[in-house]
């Protein structure tokens, strides 16, 4: 059972007129993990999630959720998934509880089970006090939590979260992050789309970087970071130093090309970190007669990965 991927896509194509939203989109999401789809606006994140959630018919390719084809076995797919989109998909005029009971019953729970589960989720997501108020009185963060509760009410095995924190204030965002971590701990498979690198880094065990309707890189956050050279030593030379001499002295440590900024006083050296590296570098520069203002080790962030990969693709 658990060898079947939660989500599998092969060569998905989706065109809107002349715009190509998905352009050979491949993806495999293992069960029981939080998986991040990271990409800028218009990269194809939402389109792919809509295909997986049986809301959109792809023009080409195949997609399966827990082994069920999204086109041929859409009804089976719908029994296993939950979807939370970018907007709170709720009835504004109903109370929070009434919304959950309604979605619960439509998720094929009996009325009793829907009520029980609604109360449990309201409690779990800190909405009990507001449960009997109309949703239109809710704050943005409360709506998202209620929307998420609605996606969870039928006990989905696979949960799609499409940009769950876009537009939320920092507090509400932190709360959503905690909730997603809690879901992961319960063993729910979560496919999360985000345009925030930090969010993918914080939450996702594996990340697919999306650009132009296809996956341009895939792996754990650490794997992706190591793809753009891992760590760098950033060296600020004192004013008027011999940059050539410095480069020569650093060549021994560099695991790639040393880059320098326009005015030459700032060098970035790709390195593989080792004990006492910084000391050795400073000593080597000293011997070469170059004086240094500042040496720091900088780890690649997902931002570096993202910009490097999208630049390659362009």
């Amino acid at each position: 059972m658990s060898d079947i991927p939660a989500v599998a896509a092969e060569g998905l194509i989706k065109k809107y007129g002349t715009t190509i939203a998905l352009d050979g989109f491949d993806l495999t999401v293992p069960q029981g993990t939080v998986y991040g789809l990271l990409g800028p606006n218009g990269a194809g994140k939402t389109t792919s999630v809509r295909v997986f959630a049986t809301l959109l018919r792809p023009d080409g390719g195949r997609a399966q959720v827990l082994g069920h084809d999204v086109l041929k076995q859409a009804a089976d797919v719908r029994k296993t998934i939950g979807l939370t989109g970018q907007y709170a998909a709720l009835d504004e005029y109903l109370t929070g509880r009434a919304n959950l009971v309604m979605i619960g019953q439509l998720s094929r729970l009996t009325l009793d089970a829907a009520r029980r589960r609604a109360d449990e989720l309201l409690e779990r997501f800190d909405l009990s006090e507001a449960a009997n108020r109309a949703v239109k009185t809710y704050s943005g963060g409360m709506r998202r939590r209620l929307d998420l509760s609605a996606s969870l009410i039928g006990q989905p095995q696979v949960l799609f979260l499409d940009e769950p924190t876009t537009g939320l204030d920092p507090n509400a965002r932190a709360m959503m992050w905690d909730i997603v971590r809690g879901l992961a701990a319960d063993g729910t498979t979560v496919l999360l789309t985000t345009q925030y690198l930090e969010e993918a880094d914080q939450l996702a065990a594996r990340i697919a970087v999306i650009d132009g309707g296809r996956v341009i890189a895939e792996g754990t956050s650490a794997e992706l970071k190591s793809r753009v050279g891992g760590e760098h030593l950033e060296i600020n030379l004192a004013a008027g130093q011999d940059v050539e001499a410095a480069m020569l002295a650093l060549k021994h440590f560099a695991k790639g090309t040393i880059s320098q900024n326009d005015i030459g006083g700032h060098l970035a050296v790709p390195v593989s970190p080792s004990e006492g590296l910084t000391t050795e570098v400073v000593r080597a520069l000293d011997i070469a007669g170059v004086s240094v203002n500042d040496v720091t080790i900088r780890r690649a962030s997902l931002d570096d990965v993202f910009f490097a990969l999208t630049r390659e693709a362009a």
Partner: protein, 282 residues
């Protein structure tokens, strides 16, 4: 955080028959519409306050200047026309409600659930029928208050009301189709207004068609609104100048209402359902 329920602890209805599941879904969505009315009674303004305002306006402002052949009572004439208007003008509201559900993503949520696909549209049409009944009751009550009377049997009244509701139900599907095609609630509101206002007024709902210019008369006579107005007046035993008009729908208004309603249902319902499927799996 409280203890987590596992799927095994929850009672699912997967074992129920398809038709029972369908009826449950429809019922849950009708309950939603009723709960909304209970929480926001002002959403019923278009079927409650509007007919009252129109009846009073036409009875006491315009009515005195509208001559009827054979000096019939305008107050008695008015109610048959008002019934159709009260029912048909709920259609833009249906469109607005559906477009709003698409807008907020609620429609996407419904589509991603293991629920019956058609329940959403069917439930909306039934909920609308309930509000249309409220509208009919209000028109009848205000009518009685301004001096409208029925001069025939209870059976005739029942037939008239049944025809009116059939007619209203057909218009609901026009509204549903509108809601499936349009993108914004504002557009639905405005287009609904543009379609339904002339539809109501270029008819015998408020004035006899005899007073209209010759080229406009056939348009008004073949307007389904005129057919319902004439059928209601005939069945209530109210002044019915349309009986003097020699066009088929005015001579056979009950048949015309059924033909128009069934025709509209046969055109609009499949188109709406097809559109729903297409939007459902664009």
């Amino acid at each position: 955080m409280t203890a987590v329920t596992t799927a095994a602890d929850l009672d699912f209805t997967h074992g129920h028959t398809q038709s029972r599941l369908f009826l449950t879904d429809v019922w849950v969505l009708i309950k939603r519409a009723i709960a909304r009315i209970r929480n926001e009674p002002e959403t019923l303004m278009d079927v409650t306050a509007m007919p009252v305002i129109f009846i009073l306006m036409f009875a006491y402002v315009f009515g005195g200047s509208i001559p009827l052949p054979h000096h019939g009572s305008y107050h008695e004439y008015l109610i048959g026309g008002m019934l159709g208007m009260g029912l048909a003008q709920t259609a833009p509201g249906v469109a607005v409600a559906l477009v709003s559900d698409m807008h907020t993503g609620l429609m996407d949520r419904f589509r991603s659930l293991p629920m019956s696909r058609w329940a959403v549209l069917i439930a909306r049409s039934i909920a609308e029928l309930l509000t249309q009944m409220i509208s009919a009751v209000i028109v009848v009550c205000v009518g009685l208050a301004i001096g409208w009377r029925v001069h025939t049997s209870a059976g005739n009244v029942a037939v008239a009301l049944a025809l009116a509701l059939l007619f209203g139900y057909a218009f609901t599907w026009a509204g549903i189709l509108l809601g499936m095609v349009l993108r914004s609630p504002e557009a639905a509101q405005q287009l609904g207004f543009i379609i339904f206002l002339p539809l109501t007024f270029i008819s015998s709902a408020f004035v006899p068609t005899q007073g209209m210019p010759g080229w406009l008369q056939p348009v008004a006579e073949w307007n389904p609104m005129s057919a319902l107005a004439a059928a209601s007046r005939k069945l209530f035993g109210n002044p019915n100048p349309a009986a003097l008009v020699h066009s088929w729908p005015m001579q056979h208004p009950e048949l015309a209402v059924v033909a128009w309603s069934v025709g509209m249902l046969l055109v609009f319902a499949p188109l709406a359902v097809r559109r729903y499927r297409r939007v459902a799996l664009g």
